[in-house]
């Protein structure tokens, strides 16, 4: 019988910041006790990720007064006075895991392969498919240019035709791709296609690549089997990719469990929560380089990575993709456009800076709204039901029906929206996080909002995934307890009626019955945004929408439910969907200032 784990140190090496948390057993449960962070040190002059880890841990030491380090080493196990029992880490620094996937039909096996790669926490650089419209030599050039960390090849149902998947294998062989890091090892290739082709695949790719064969990702059209591919990707991530990045060999030797790619860890945690509470969840992690969105609708998990939408390294790309006007529409003051683009450019080339002035903060949060909005559009397009499963149709028909899969994302069904990543988790006021989430995701009906206050989901995700028998039980208990008690900050609930309504007209009557029996009535009018402070406690709600307006029970249908407040409270959003802002600058600024005031978003002063 192993002894109870008393202390856990977990770090997450992000592309900008390395965060460390200390979890300790306190009386009867695990609690987060201290945290620290430091810039990630993959950059010169350090070029060693462990420096940033040590800095972050040093901060934890300073704050907790506990000795964790012995020089450049983490002391394990805890001897009662110093050290920690276990140390785990996730990582997205060094560019994360960059993959290329290939499938026969882009919207079928191609998409399944993409889902597996994304679910494992990778960035998908490109999806090759027999029907992607590119000529073989174009595909070959693309493979050579991209130099992925690994390739996932799928295609064909088990026992079906092997020709197409073999053609893809031959293209790979002709490209003879080199891995991104390190000249001296072969590129890892995972084959997860038609079983019947396995021997021929070995013949074609066995020599030139480091080939692994796993079960078919799409054994039959109606079924997706992502698990074997995902697991294999995780193994290879550790063996190949991590081992090549600066300082990672050292970091790997310190940890008690394999280092997980950050998004893989977050995804597995979100999946666990949705399952445990039987709800629909959207989680977002907006980072420096990328924005990840995770969702569980109808029990189906999806993850997308918007590889070039982020708040530092990719900040200029948010500007390029959304356009300056779309960013500026959220800014309630006039600003010189060229001066603004220079400022944003400077954030890109010096990615670790933080907004010191209020003006800088408002601009940064305006950009975040656009990054989130664009990422969510991409997510909705990807999170669909399986395409091409209608059994009546032939495969050639399936080629034509690329848009047949319906998006699983239904904002009216969404129960919980969780935000994380610096700009959401570190916003000086929680009202700002709530506003960014609502403005970008535009929830409908009744939706609970939360943020991962200190971005702990990656660390908790890796804890929940520990495999070692002697650590498993305590680690997953710690992950769940800390998640419930310390990780999620419940912001409150957003009530949004939607439908055709005239400006300023009534959309719904809301009756709130509080725990002490008191009752309050509220009218939601089109174009308004109101907030009522109320802690994370149960409130009975009755909503009577006017004709043509829906709050979740159907147009004009009354709805009874139970909702919860939070650190922000209850938000009544009458700004129909999609939220539209006036083209007139004065009117737009007026609305923005009113909405900000209604939720006490920014400090009162000259600007607000």
């Amino acid at each position: 019988m192993s002894k109870k784990i008393k202390s856990i140190l977990a770090t997450d090496c992000g592309s900008t910041t390395t965060k460390a948390v200390l979890i300790e057993w306190k009386e009867d449960r695990y609690r987060l006790t201290f945290r620290g962070e430091a810039p990630t040190t993959v950059e010169a002059p350090f070029e060693d990720v462990t420096k940033g880890v040590l800095n972050a841990v040093m901060e934890v030491e300073e704050l907790s007064g506990r000795t964790i380090l012995d020089g450049d080493k983490i002391i394990t196990p805890d001897d009662g006075s110093k050290g920690v029992d276990i140390y785990v880490s996730t990582s997205s620094a060094g560019g994360g895991l960059q993959m290329m996937v290939a499938g026969v039909v882009k919207s079928m096996s191609g998409e399944s392969a993409e889902r597996a790669a994304l679910g494992a926490g990778s960035i998908v650089m490109d999806v090759l498919a027999s029907n992607d419209g590119r000529l073989p030599h174009e595909k070959i050039t693309r493979i050579r240019q991209l130099r992925p960390d690994m390739i996932l090849l799928s295609g064909g149902t088990d026992g079906g035709t092997t020709t197409h998947v073999m053609e893809l294998a031959e293209i790979l062989a002709a490209a003879n791709p080199r891995p991104r890091l390190g000249q001296n090892y072969k590129l890892p290739v995972i084959y997860a296609g038609n079983k019947k082709a396995q021997d021929s695949i070995r013949e074609t790719l066995g020599e030139i690549s480091d080939l692994d064969i796993v079960d078919n990702i799409r054994p039959v059209l109606e079924q997706e089997n992502l698990e074997p591919s995902r697991d294999k990707i995780h193994d290879l991530f550790m063996e190949h990719v991590m081992a090549q990045a600066p300082g990672y060999k050292k970091l790997m030797s310190w940890t008690d469990a394999p280092i997980m790619p950050t998004p893989g860890a977050v995804g597995s945690l979100i999946e666990m929560i949705a399952k445990k509470e039987n709800i629909s969840v959207v989680g977002v992690d907006i980072g420096g380089a990328t924005t990840d969105i995770f969702s569980v609708f109808e029990g189906k998990f999806n993850r997308t990575v918007s590889a070039n939408l982020g708040m530092s390294y990719s900040i200029c790309n948010v500007l390029a993709e959304s356009g300056l006007d779309n960013v500026l529409r959220w800014v309630p003051f006039d600003i010189d456009r060229s001066e603004l683009t220079n400022r944003i450019g400077n954030k890109m080339i010096r990615p670790t800076t933080v907004p010191q002035s209020l003006e800088e903060l408002v601009i940064e949060q305006a950009i975040a709204r656009e990054a989130l909005r664009l990422s969510f559009i991409q997510h909705k397009e990807f999170a669909t039901s399986l395409k091409g499963v209608q059994s009546e149709r032939t495969i050639s028909d399936a080629f034509e029906q690329s848009s047949s899969g319906q998006s699983l994302v239904n904002m009216m069904d969404l129960d919980l929206l969780v935000g994380s990543g610096g700009v959401l988790s570190h916003a000086p006021r929680r009202q700002q996080s709530a506003r960014m989430l609502i403005d970008a995701f535009m929830p409908e009906g009744i939706t609970q909002l939360a943020v991962d206050s200190i971005f702990m989901m990656p660390q908790l995700g890796v804890l929940a995934n520990i495999d070692k028998d002697e650590l498993k039980e305590d680690a997953s208990q710690a992950a769940l307890e800390v998640f419930d008690n310390d990780c999620l900050i419940r912001l409150g609930t957003c009530l949004t009626p939607v439908g055709n309504a005239k400006p300023n007209s009534k959309m719904a009557d809301v009756t709130l019955t509080f725990g002490d029996g008191s009752v309050k009535e509220i009218e939601i009018n089109e174009g308004s945004l109101e907030m009522m402070e109320h802690p994370y406690e149960e409130v009975k709600v009755n909503i009577k929408p006017v004709r043509g307006i829906d709050v979740g029970a159907g147009k004009g249908e009354e709805l009874e439910s139970v909702i919860y407040g939070g650190v922000v409270g209850l938000i009544f959003d009458g700004r129909n969907r999609p939220i539209t802002l006036s083209k007139e600058s004065d009117q737009r600024i007026d609305s923005l200032l009113n909405w900000s005031k209604a939720v006490d978003e920014y400090p009162k002063g000259e600007m607000f």
């Binding site: 592309s15 810039p39 040190t41 993959v42 950059e43 010169a44 002059p45 350090f46 420096k51 940033g52 800095n55 060094g94 560019g95 994360g96 073989p136 030599h137 070959i140 050039t141 092997t162 020709t163 073999m166 053609e167 031959e170 062989a173 002709a174 003879n176 080199r178 890091l181 000249q183 074609t204 990045a245 600066p246 380089a289 070039n308 390294y313 990719s314 200029c316 790309n317 390029a320 060229s338 001066e339 220079n342 400022r343 944003i344 450019g345 400077n346 954030k347 890109m348 080339i349 010096r350 670790t352 800076t353 933080v354 907004p355 010191q356 002035s357 209020l358 800088e360 903060l361 000086p428």
Partner: protein, 374 residues
């Protein structure tokens, strides 16, 4: 004493500069350890595999993939010329034959019986790697290239465009706060590397392109002008492959920002000397910053950079503010308080107390950059 790690850019008067010069694929190394190199010396060469053409022989001949072998007129590894018959059906009594011709000169790389495809690879593409900087061969990386060593002054910029260039340094701006203007750029500056002060306008850069200046090192450039130069909005800072005659290295950032005193005076000191520069920048995994390398006379080979490890910001360090307000200003660290401080934005951060122009102000540590000088 409290200290904090902050990435800084190098401005080194004298250092032992080492650089890998490696082929993209294995090949031949053409120099020996200890050989003297000029920037143009070819140190290694190889042949990149040529493009491939995939011929769907079974489809074109309308036969089964497994029957392709019978129809073939060529073997694997056989050389073919454009128009050579690759495969042919026997037809009916020798009539109505159909055939597949090679679309290019090349070699038959593979023949697939499962897909009925024949792969023809075109002639290899020769690739050479030069020394880039004058110096000596320090180390041979077998079949891949060399590590070059040179006594040099070394400066990193914050952002650049276009790849490796070389030329003599030419001081144009008289001070670090002075803009480098279009009318200062003249035809006799062809092939030179111009040293400017605080700013370069789009017009001035276009003028430099037109007279074929090799490179420009300057404090600031407008972000939105990049679109006019590159033809697209630069979304992520990954550059180096732009086909531009004039490399641009920005040392401070976007906008008009005086070049740091240390950088400017080191460049000024080396006015007229031959230099190699590279605008390639990658602000992401495995960060690459643009660089200016100025080989200096051998003799004293003391390395004054690698002997001291960067120690991060400490009390007394010279730092630069890298975000508004006070963007670009240089100051000295007075103290590094351990507790979190609230900024105007209400952000709680760890700060440093900095003396700038005689005034002590609190600035987030994350908004400071160490100015690394010898």
């Amino acid at each position: 004493m409290a200290h904090s790690y902050t990435p800084g850019l190098k401005v080194l008067k004298k250092t032992i500069f080492k650089k890998e010069r490696i082929l993209p694929l294995k090949g031949d190394v053409l120099v020996k350890s200890g050989d003297q190199l000029t920037p143009d010396t070819i140190v290694a060469s190889t042949n990149l595999p040529g493009n491939v053409q995939m011929l769907k022989v079974s489809n074109i001949l309308n036969i089964d993939p497994k029957d392709v072998v019978e129809a073939l007129k060529v073997k694997e590894r056989q050389e073919v010329k454009k128009g050579d018959i690759i495969a042919e059906t026997s037809g009916i009594f020798g009539m109505f034959k159909s055939s597949v011709e090679s679309p290019v000169d090349g070699t038959i790389e593979s023949i697939s019986q499962s897909t009925g495809r024949v792969v023809v690879r075109e002639a290899p593409i020769p690739v050479e790697v030069d020394a880039y900087v004058s110096g000596v061969v320090d180390e041979i990386v077998e079949n891949e290239g060399i590590v070059l060593k040179s006594n040099a002054a070394f400066i990193q910029g914050i952002f650049g465009i276009a790849g490796e260039k070389r030329g003599d340094l030419l001081l144009v701006s008289s001070g670090p706060g002075e803009e480098l203007t279009a009318d200062q750029i003249t035809a006799d500056m062809k092939g030179k590397i111009l040293i400017g002060g605080s700013f370069l306008s789009l017009d001035a850069y276009k003028k430099a392109l037109s007279v074929q200046v090799a490179g420009i090192v300057v404090g600031g450039f407008n972000y939105y002008d990049l679109k006019a130069v590159l033809g697209y909005n630069l979304g992520v800072a990954i550059t180096g492959t732009e086909k531009l005659n004039t490399a641009l290295i920005v040392t401070e950032g976007y906008g008009s920002i005086p070049m740091s005193e240390a950088t400017f005076s080191l460049l000024k000191e080396n006015d007229g000397k031959a230099a190699s520069i590279n605008g390639a920048t990658q602000i992401r995994a495995g960060v690459i910053r643009p660089e200016i390398v100025i080989p200096i006379d051998a003799g004293n080979t003391d390395d004054d950079s690698s002997s001291k490890m960067p120690e991060g910001i400490q009390e007394g360090s010279t730092v630069r503010v890298i975000r508004s307000p006070n963007f670009g200003k240089i100051g000295k660290v007075i103290s590094l308080p351990a507790e979190l401080n609230k900024m105007e934005s209400e952000t709680m951060v760890r700060v440093a107390e900095i003396n700038i122009d005689g005034k002590n102000i609190l600035i987030p540590r994350a908004n400071l950059e160490m100015v690394e000088t010898e």
